[in-house]
Amino acid sequence: MPKAQIIPAPMELKRRAVNRKKGFDINPSPTDLAKIEAAVNASADKFVTAFAAILRALRGAIELAERDPTMRDMVLVEVRERAFDVKGLGGTYKFPLMSEIGRSLHMLTGRMETMNDVQLAIVKYHVDALYVVLAQRIQGQGGALEQELLVAFRKAVEKFG
């Protein structure tokens, strides 16, 4: 039977950084967490500006893919990468609906090698939906309409992804 060696936990970093005088509590108070949250809130405007630019670029790329089918592979790679970014960042900035749409778009494009007309149309609907969420600053999960939209996207991904 193979044997495993247990190596004691390295303690040097803990010895250097953990103390009872200086720094943030190991169990932070709501006030401490609010201070950290302030760092996120401070960059929220940068997020909105950056994502508006990304969505504009995606719209341009989709128009290009509509006009010139030979560009679709390249556009697909771009859409997949940006969808991953939206999925990862939206919720942190209190746009969880944006993360959900990004997740759906990433799932849709993750399995594709190229895009036919229907798939391209579904990609476009996702980008349009992201635009609406950002333009209307829909924070939280949105309402019934937004949830219906997510269900519709899920079905489209299952069928065409």
Binding site: I7, R16, A17, R20, K22, D85, L89, G90
Partner: protein, 164 residues
């Protein structure tokens, strides 16, 4: 009794993420916590160069980086003979949030895994875990990394098995 604290100015971080917005957000949070040594790398080659130069205490990496992925970077740190520190605390902070990614990262020796989008509370708890609650390492034929069994918590009652 005075609570334990973490002096983040004593912890040197490396953030590896190709998305500048994500990197900047982590940088801002760590600065808010008091960290003064925060290196950034947009790709895994630069990350390895920084790691080999030494002076990094905690690595925070996205999975989706190039030219080698965050998972391969983790594997290199844990298993390469060129590794600067095989026991380096590593937080995988990634939008690859599905369960199969968590399992893969754990089996490659990640210290903590956090799915994006994340909350500051969850991120802070991962930092506390890697800095203040280091885990033993296991060196086996097919695995080198933190002990995947989580620590035993004292349940506060009598230890009946021991009495038996």
């Amino acid at each position: 009794m005075v609570a334990e604290k973490i002096d983040f100015s004593a912890v040197r971080f490396l953030i590896v993420d190709p998305n500048p917005l994500s990197t900047e957000l982590l940088y801002d949070i760590l600065r808010m916590l008091g960290s003064i040594s925060i290196r950034r790398a947009a790709d895994s080659n630069k990350a390895m160069t920084i790691l080999r130069a030494g002076g990094i205490d905690v690595l925070i990496t996205e999975w989706n980086v190039g030219p080698v992925s965050g998972l391969e970077l983790l594997d290199m740190v844990r298993n390469s003979t060129q590794s600067p520190d095989r026991m380096l605390p590593i937080i995988m902070l990634t939008a690859n949030s599905e369960p199969e990614f968590v399992v893969q990262a754990r089996d490659h020796g990640v210290t903590e895994f956090l799915a994006k989008p994340f909350t500051v509370d969850a991120f802070y708890r991962r930092l506390v875990s890697v800095i203040a609650r280091p885990r033993s390492f296991v060196n086996a034929d097919s695995y080198f990394g933190p002990d995947r069994r989580r620590r035993q918590i004292n349940h506060g009652g009598p230890d009946r098995r021991r009495e038996d």
